[in-house]
Symmetry: C2
Subunit: 481 residues, 2 copies
Amino acid sequence: VSCGSTENIDLFFHAKSVAIYGASASQNSVGQAIVQNFIKPQYTGKVYAINPKYDQVLGVPCYPSLQDIPGPVDLVVIAVPARITPRVFEDIGAKGCKAAIIISGGFSETGPAGAELEDEVVRIAKEYGIRVIGPNCVGVIDTQSHIDTFFLPEYRCGRPRPSNVANISLVSQSGAFAAAISDWTAELGLGISKIVSLGNKCDVDDDDLLWYLAEDDSTQVICYYTEGYDSMKGRTFFDTARRVTESKPILVVKSGRGMRAKAAASSHTGSLAGSDNVADAAYRQAGIIRADNFEHMFDMAKALAMQPPARGDRVLMITNGGGLGVMTADALEALDLAIPSPSDDLVRRFKEKLPPYCAVGNPVDVVGDTDASRYDIVFEEAIASGEYDLFVVGMLLQTPSLGMDITNVIANYQRQSGLPFVVVSMGGGFTTKAGEIMELMGVPTFATGEKAAVAAKALAQYGEVRYGEDFNKTLTNNKKD
Amino acid sequence: VSCGSTENIDLFFHAKSVAIYGASASQNSVGQAIVQNFIKPQYTGKVYAINPKYDQVLGVPCYPSLQDIPGPVDLVVIAVPARITPRVFEDIGAKGCKAAIIISGGFSETGPAGAELEDEVVRIAKEYGIRVIGPNCVGVIDTQSHIDTFFLPEYRCGRPRPSNVANISLVSQSGAFAAAISDWTAELGLGISKIVSLGNKCDVDDDDLLWYLAEDDSTQVICYYTEGYDSMKGRTFFDTARRVTESKPILVVKSGRGMRAKAAASSHTGSLAGSDNVADAAYRQAGIIRADNFEHMFDMAKALAMQPPARGDRVLMITNGGGLGVMTADALEALDLAIPSPSDDLVRRFKEKLPPYCAVGNPVDVVGDTDASRYDIVFEEAIASGEYDLFVVGMLLQTPSLGMDITNVIANYQRQSGLPFVVVSMGGGFTTKAGEIMELMGVPTFATGEKAAVAAKALAQYGEVRYGEDFNKTLTNNKKD
């Protein structure tokens, strides 16, 4: 089992038979919660419980050990006390299983004795060629195969669903975050393929999953939450990432920017957070886009999953509210995107067709009494001009003069032009629903100009990664920090 | 009518009789939409329509002119073409009305001819002592009196409601933003008292409303959206603000940080956006807190409306998820809040009572299997120690071991200690509802560590404004920008 190996990783997501060590009849136990996930009708594989105390758990046949199970087992989920795990791994090896998730804690995160136990498990796993996720984690959710080892009940921790358009997979060092993100994205409606909580990373690590997710057709954007890298594995990860980002975007949230956070991370995971500036440089070189926080990561991931990368940094902002234009332009400018004025020729074309009280510039303000037709004019002329690489479309729907046909106009021009579009639509009930419609039509929609700007920036950043020298960069990078 | 006068301003919010100039029988017209707002049963005042074409509009008696209305009229709402407005104002003056909102556009925002018309209206208004909001605006929403001149239908533009706990009032230069914010805050459930759209500010301006809102018992936090100040009025506004912030927080979102945004603002409102750095300095001196965007402003306003200001900058973070602790500490540190380690004595007290696998530091991580009792221990000891001014409480509810009694523990310690608390609870359905419960119990709750950090910062910033020299500042301001 070497670094960056995808050998048998697929079993974690597509196991056709699962055995749960420590399956339990006692309510609210971890061992019962995991059995509960696998007896849902959505999971179509075979399920076995392992516990010498029972004949069955929740109606699932229960065996004293893995050896007693009649058929093959693809994946073993382990929820027994840490001290028993070496014995369990001998059992797994003897059965010939190749994938195990250790949910239990009590390993290297607790000190030297736990670390020794973890080393022993790793030794046995290597001997038999068993891939291990964990220990000290919540494991895996796959929204398509319905493999689900999160031991948290659905009423507390919602499970996300895959989207028909494009999906995100997320790898998290923190189990609590993996759970919170599962719950959060379930509510957001963001299309998710896989969530993996890595815990102590005794075997499977960020790099292994990167290789796997790069090849995974149901993952369009790969997201990471990490608190740090150990120096050797970190290098491998960045080498892999450089190759992966040529065809698939990678986003990362890395905590531990500050001193205080670094101390907390160290006591939390036992890993050294390392220099944050070094990480920043490594991200840039590898084409990884770093997000400041989860909200930004989700906004970026949504845009990258739904839209093509931009071929340059020239943004045209169209709006039916002047204030929204100003605020969004501020946000775009702060992120070093170019907001070039339309050429004299393009201004002339706009003015020929738009009412005289529209403000023709960048932003183009088609003002509050507009219907979809003025957007139509702006898109047609701006796209034909070739002066812009990316469109940010302000769509304030509080005024009834703008009908829902605007969504068709936006989606059609996006599709025809092949240029990336993001929409910003601020408001409440009607606006939220309209945004969902807009996204079903393929164009990502955001509640504020700042969020749309962050999304637009990601489309330009990834464009630069993808197109390299061919990326049409009009602004030199003069970031203030 | 001088700068900073609150004379007759109250009529805009508490008019017991309203006349609508340009009331109309044609569907989807502005004149009809406004009549519609006032015939809702919630508005208990008298309503009159004015239009020589009709006897009634939507069942409201309609008169040819204001003079023909039998009773007194407190407030006139004007939705007639700009060129007619001088005649309308002669009519208003003759009737003795003292407050008018000009919804119509076509004034100074359109050029010199419109500016002349606006000057004439102002001249007449001054002659008769009429206070004017607008022109070119959507006017006023008062969620308690149900004065509502927003001409946008509720299915598109939701109206916010007042909260029983504490309310925010918002003044916006932009009408489209006023509408979008009405709609947005309706969905957010943020308690709102008043929203005012100022438009061209021909008479009533930011400063007048500041005087008024400072004295308004139903407004706990005053929020502004502005694109700039003209130099004379700006000075008056900042002078007033310095006095108001001694007893009530003022938040502002000012767009036009960037060059591009400045140009757009100028074409949008005809006002010069002015130097952004000058504005920043003026805000600081006046004790006004500047928010980067509306999301931040709402987060800050919620915290300031619900919690006392902090008496110092020393934050204790408590969490049941290590990752959340790290991310939030990062965000707090980036905002220059102090995150001091507990003293040896406090560490000893924590360790005596908490399980050994809890991480005692700052953050204090009571880990994933906690129930409310460990929070109880941390609050009790930390409050008794006097080492902290502000508590940021991570409450991840994906794990069922943490029951809803945590909300009581948090609310009780907040109330008993009188110290400001903010809660961060990341997730979906259950978490969102629990956050609403937490807020009904008086403690503001946020979906991410970054949002909680922004809220905590506002409580410290306003504490510095309120307590001046007595504010216990351990960190010197070493902001990176």
